[in-house]
């Protein structure tokens, strides 16, 4: 609160007190302010700039808004930016106080909500909290200053205020300035006149042209480790930051510390999850590679063995084994790429029946060799649709190949492939077999990468790739299966 001498107009800052305030002015005048004033008078530029008790005039250009002034006559005045229309000036002041408290309360609730709403977008979260803090504490600027313990410096992580953009790349030494002191000593620091504070670093002001008057710094403590500080600059009130502001800022800082800790935990969990996923993928690949290398090693061994014993022509079996495993390696590499990359299908107007037919023709011999029948029933009324023909070919090939594998142990069974339309605008490709079927546990895992129940033969990527390609076409894939009766896979693709 500012006390204005009624004799020489000198201004002095005084703290409110429960008793009468008695001050001796430099001019020798004895001034006193009663402890409890029933109401305060609101003065404003537009209407009233004089004390109602002593009729003294004030040059309101020289006072900040919302400043409390104790007139030398003992009257308490409140500088308002607006014209005052209320009859009761006291009510105006009380209303303002309760509005301020309300603003602070809602600010705290908002901050808590923000912290619980997201743990992944820490940058956005901090920016919002810092903005809330600036408003709540009625300050000109605010920032979360974070400590980079490796590089031993402080960075301005989230900043508000008119010069905020110029501070984004600014760094302070770990113990530099009032904020550095707050971090290293893990204590709250209030400096209402930084000009008199030897600890204050002018570098930020010099770099940005901002003028700092007052600073409130609160350390951000996570498990007794100080990760940074909340720095609030220039209270919009000549009194500077009060004890009430300190309490409020400490409450917010605690919440920011929780947000930082949550983000750190979430990051650690994500890292562990990624590591596990990579571990799983690498294990799957390693397993496939070992089997294929074994095939290559075996092919070479058989070939050498045959060459040693050969008297005439060398048998093809070693060469065939080498070729087969080279192809499996190529397929594995292709599947891995399809699985890992986000790709956009290369759309072409395509006759789906033609694509299915080419797969059926390719697989017919294999079906005959194992004693299965492969049938195709096309829906001749299908229109051409825009798909990536190579991708869809691969999906159907995977599903027909799986269907034949499932029928290996039975003789004389049928694999039925058909096309059709469903729901008026969807094309369906159905592959049904009468093979071994799958139980529920298997069904739940079939689309997971590297899951295979084909022993050494499968890479475990076929269905995973198939689903990915279908989904890239905005389609979906369905499966029904009964153990020992058979399985039906259905690919649904959007029509025109």
């Amino acid at each position: 609160m500012l006390l204005i001498c009624s004799h020489c107009e000198a201004r002095q800052e005084v703290k409110k007190s429960i008793g009468n305030i008695k001050v001796l002015c430099q001019c020798g005048e004895r001034l006193s302010v009663p402890a409890s004033l029933p109401d305060c008078q609101v003065i404003s530029r537009q209407k009233q700039d004089r004390c109602l008790l002593c009729n003294r005039g004030f040059d309101l250009q020289t006072f900040r808004e919302d400043t409390e002034i104790a007139c030398g006559c003992g009257n308490l005045l409140f500088v308002s930016k607006d014209d005052v229309s209320e009859d009761s000036l006291g009510r105006r002041k009380t209303d303002q106080s309760s509005r301020l408290l309300e603003k602070e309360l809602f600010g705290l609730i908002d901050t808590a909500r923000l912290i619980h709403s997201s743990i992944h977008h820490i940058d956005k979260l901090m920016a919002l909290i810092v903005q809330k803090t600036t408003d709540m504490l009625n300050a000109e600027a605010c920032s979360a200053v974070m400590r980079d313990s490796k590089k031993k410096h402080l960075i301005f992580y989230a900043i508000t205020g008119e010069k905020s953009s110029e501070l984004t790349t600014f760094e302070l030494a770990e113990d530099e300035g009032i904020v550095g002191k707050s971090i290293t000593t893990k204590s709250t620091i209030v400096a209402n006149n930084v000009g008199n504070d030897p600890q204050f670093s002018h570098r930020a002001d010099e770099a940005t042209g901002f003028v700092t008057h007052s600073v409130l710094c609160v350390p951000l403590l996570v498990d007794d480790n100080c990760v940074g500080a909340l720095e609030i600059v220039n209270k919009r009130n000549i009194d500077g930051f009060s004890q009430h502001d300190v309490l409020l800022a400490e409450g917010i800082a605690d919440q920011i510390a929780v947000a930082v800790q949550n983000a750190q935990l979430a990051q650690a969990a994500l890292k562990a999850e990624r590591r596990a996923a990579i571990g799983e993928a690498v294990s799957g690949v390693a397993h496939c590679l070992k089997n294929m290398l074994n095939g290559l090693q075996g092919g070479l061994y058989v070939l050498k063995s045959d060459v040693k014993k050969a008297t005439g022509d060398i048998s093809d079996r070693g060469f065939e084994m080498l070729e087969r495993n080279m192809k499996r390696l190529t397929d594995l590499a292709q599947d891995m790429l399809s699985c890992s990359k986000d790709r956009t299908p290369e759309y072409e107007q395509t006759d789906i029946n033609e694509v299915v037919d080419s797969v059926v023709e390719l697989m017919r011999q294999r079906a005959q060799e194992q004693g299965s029948e492969l049938r195709f029933t096309p829906d001749e009324s299908l229109d051409e649709i825009a798909v990536d023909p190579k991708g869809i070919y691969r999906c159907i090939l995977n599903l027909v190949s799986n269907a034949l594998d499932a029928c290996k142990e039975k003789s004389g069974v049928v694999v039925d492939v058909s096309t059709g339309t469903i729901n008026t605008n969807e094309i369906i490709i159905r592959i049904s077999d009468q093979g071994c079927g799958m139980d529920k546990a298997t069904l739940n895992s079939i689309f997971e990468p590297f899951f295979s129940n084909k022993g050494s033969d499968g890479t475990g990527l076929g269905l995973s790739v198939t689903r990915k390609i279908v989904e890239e076409h905005s389609g979906r894939i369905g499966v029904d299966s009964v153990v020992n009766k058979g399985t039906t896979f259905s690919i649904y693709l959007p029509g025109q």
Binding site: A276, A286, N291, N294
Partner: protein, 149 residues
């Protein structure tokens, strides 16, 4: 120079059957072939092989089931088993001890599947030797000679 000791070769991969049978032939061993766990158990009941070369990941009945069955059967328990697998390092089970490896070293699903499996069905059973694919023929023969009297 032929060896009358007979080896049961259990694998679902035609390549591995061709490879291993060629190694056995070249080294004068006799062998019979089983293409999954069910065929393997049939073969074990019909004739007593001197040694089993056993794959782990096979359709129908896997190799760990065969191993468990052998170790529980007093007539079969003394037959040496060499596990030949490409998955020894990736299943979450240390094949030489039969114990589950630390979960964090593996993808969760793989570790869980084999971990549960080993705890439910196989605790305490282990193969006499483990050979990982790709198979080195000289290592395989040395191991067979070591285990056969």
């Amino acid at each position: 120079m032929s060896d009358t000791r007979k080896i049961l070769l259990v694998d679902d991969s035609e390549d591995q059957i061709l490879f291993a049978s060629q190694i056995l032939e070249d080294n004068g061993f006799q062998y019979t072939i089983a293409r999954d766990g069910i065929e393997a158990i049939d073969a074990l009941q019909k004739e007593r092989p001197s040694l089993v070369l056993l794959d782990i990941l096979m359709p129908r009945k896997g190799g760990l089931n065969v191993l468990k069955k052998m170790r529980e059967d007093p007539d079969l328990t003394s037959i040496p088993v060499i596990v030949v697998t490409g998955s020894g390092e990736v299943t979450g089970v240390d094949m030489t001890t039969g114990q589950e490896k630390a979960a964090e070293d593996y993808g969760d699903d793989v570790a869980r599947t084999y971990g549960e499996f080993i705890h439910d069905k196989l605790e305490g059973f282990k193969p006499d030797a483990l050979i990982e694919k790709p198979v080195d023929p000289s290592v395989l023969i040395a191991k067979i000679n070591e285990l056969l009297p």
